[in-house]
Symmetry: C2
Subunit: 415 residues, 2 copies
């Protein structure tokens, strides 16, 4: 007993999050539980966070939709939170079947305190006393993800990627690593379906992961990475389909540990983008402000903003990209907000982005990107850069060639 | 506004409970909500309690069953309670679609305090502050039935008929009438499928309802009626398939209001019973005690106990009935507990019971029951009486004739 207790004090705490696919059936839950068992056997101290079983959230949303209610409705959140309640209980049972003690914890039981709108709340605080108490008894806590309660004890859900956020917040509070089990085995230099030479990265920085996610890589939701970055939580992305003890994955860590190692970490892409140009007199200099607040109100994401002033004073040319699916709504909002300003648009575009913490010190990368794409006759419609990213809008039908060319040019084919 | 407020103070409070069939689909939920709307329009002040959607509890139990867990398991209760969480939210949405304000309340939010075993807890207390606060604002509370939390904040479910119990307890705490909406339109003098002349009763006493339920009438679970009787809660059974405002049903009320009106209120029956006889020397007089504690440990229900002492001192003949499905388990328990005592049994029997608060003053009813069945050559295997009930074990194939004969003989064909 004494040896065991002493051992426990030095165990690495790991919050392990399993998404809908990883708990999509009793068989999948059993397999995910076996990964926890392997981590426990390897001397880690696991805490589990689960999503609803795959399909369950859509099923419940469909039921709520029968009553002129949708995401954002108080009662919709109550119904949705039931999905994670079931999967948390089943995961606790699966762990028990493997000889581990486990106990489900609902958002309200911790409690996980939320604020903000129903259907998209954020986590405002988390009480981990009950987790600590269970862990001290050797019981694995299994938190129902995606949910919490506001200060009025009303159930709220956290919106898309909410369970990742639950896991990151819990890991921060418990000073644990946050393992995100998903259906891929890590973060790749680019989409392996597009580029067979894509390599799994051993590690990326939080910032790189954020840019890769924002530019189209669907491994992790940005909110959890932002949270992890702000609270210095080390994350790991790994596959819930791996054999127990064999999962490797990608570490997402604070920047200094890996910034020097690589100039570029990945090439991301997103198809079906549109380019919007606003041309007009802007005497008050408020076209940009008006446009972006109108689009924000419509919850329309805007990227690749480029503003050029013509030689004629007060005439402005403001360009940006939106997802094609948002274009109609964007035009409507802009027409309403801007009145006289001319709105042009171009569709059938794709965004290709080169991401790397090493880009900070290398302004010349933008130039080399021009030449890599130019040599292949790929026209760059718009180019924008941020601290660790360069994005180019190209024709949809050039995206595959562009990604492959950049992946090779920046040395990602073998790392 | 003032007139409305003044009106509210005099409104009849009604806790309306809807079972699984009544919330089995969005359409059924919509219809059930329209019944609430009608009650509200008629000047009643409604509070709603719902079961899980039909099939949902079995679905969740099936999932839990994949992990060597069953009813009675802590985590099984957590998963099961999710069913009522969804239906309560949907009912609140359905009421809102009809122009009423409504809010779902989970067991833990009230809270409904439970004690006893997981999967079959009882209600130990209920805080109605949140209900009163919502009602004062004109918001209809919708309680998720079948669930509560113990003093350790662990989710517990109330077992079979648990939502009826939630409703009765809430009605007691709110000093409200308790309307149980179900798939029949009230309590009948006997099973209408067996006897076309069966009549719907306008009212029965709690005791009569308890006996009818115990003897095979499946309208209400006994636990809620017992609770209602103990707390003097008037109940009403009515159909959730009725048109809004047209539901009539049966009142279940304190005895004095109707005791004088009718000698017999109903004839109940239960097929597939077995008769067990224990014959043996019982020097210590403890055969009965040993038998019934062994059967209770196996959760085997025992009815119609008859004990006769033979002329030989110390030799006892103890008989009782059990459901045929429990016979094998009963024999096993008894053989283990009693050792030498001879155990005999007879199967293929049915129990026919005459129930009526009026039987209290009329010991001669037992005699008339003998003659009614005797005239039709129906053999009475065992007969037992309680305060407001007489039961007879007859052959399974005689049950229909027996029920019809008794129904006619006691004047229930037209009331």
């Amino acid at each position: 007993m004494k040896a065991g207790d002493a051992g426990k004090r030095h165990m690495t705490r790991v919050v392990a999050k399993f998404g809908g696919t990883s708990v999509g059936s009793p068989e999948r839950i059993r397999h995910s539980a076996s990964l926890i068992k392997a981590a426990s056997d390897a001397g880690e101290q696991p805490v589990v966070v689960v999503s609803a079983m795959a399909g369950e959230t859509d099923r419940i949303l469909g039921l709520a939709g029968e009553f002129s209610a949708g995401l954002g409705d108080r009662e919709c959140d109550v119904a949705l939170a039931a999905g994670e309640q079931v999967s948390a209980a089943l995961m606790a049972l699966a762990l028990r079947d493997l000889g581990l003690e486990a106990r489900s914890i609902m958002g309200w039981q911790a409690p996980v305190i939320t604020k903000g709108p129903f259907g998209g709340a954020s986590i405002d605080g988390m009480d981990v006393e009950v987790f600590e108490a269970l862990m001290a008894q050797g019981i694995i806590p299994v938190l129902a993800g995606y949910q919490g309660i506001d200060t009025d004890a009303q159930i709220q859900t956290l919106g898309r990627g909410g369970t990742d956020l639950s896991a990151a917040a819990l890991a921060a509070a418990l000073k644990a690593r946050c393992d995100i089990y998903t259906d891929v085995d890590g973060v790749y230099t680019t989409d392996p379906r597009l580029v067979p030479e894509a390599q799994r990265l051993d590690a990326v920085s939080h910032d790189e992961m954020l840019e890769l996610a924002a530019q189209g890589a669907k491994v992790l939701q940005p909110r959890s990475v932002e949270f992890a970055k702000a609270h210095q939580v080390p994350m790991r992305v790994l596959s819930s389909f791996a054999e127990p003890g064999k999962a490797e994955g990608t570490d997402i860590v604070a920047e200094p540990r890996i910034a020097e190692r690589r100039l570029v970490s990945g090439v991301a892409y997103a198809r079906d983008q549109a380019r919007v140009a606003l041309l007009g007199t802007d005497d008050c200099g408020d076209i940009a402000q008006k446009s972006f607040s109108a689009l924000a109100q419509g919850q329309i994401g805007v990227d690749m903003i480029v503003q050029t002033h013509s030689r004629t004073p007060g005439v402005v040319n403001l360009e940006f990209s939106v997802a094609h699916k948002d274009l109609a709504a964007a035009r409507e909002r802009l027409e309403e907000a801007l009145g006289e300003t001319e709105i042009r648009w171009e569709t059938g575009l794709a965004k290709v982005s080169v991401v790397g913490a090493g880009l900070r010190q290398r302004a010349d990368i933008a130039r080399s990107l021009f030449s890599v794409l130019g040599e292949r006759n790929i026209e760059i419609k718009v180019l924008s850069t941020s601290e660790i990213k360069i994005s180019a809008l190209v024709e949809n039908n050039a995206v595959e060639r562009a990604v492959r060319a950049l992946h090779a040019a920046y040395g990602l084919d073998q790392i």
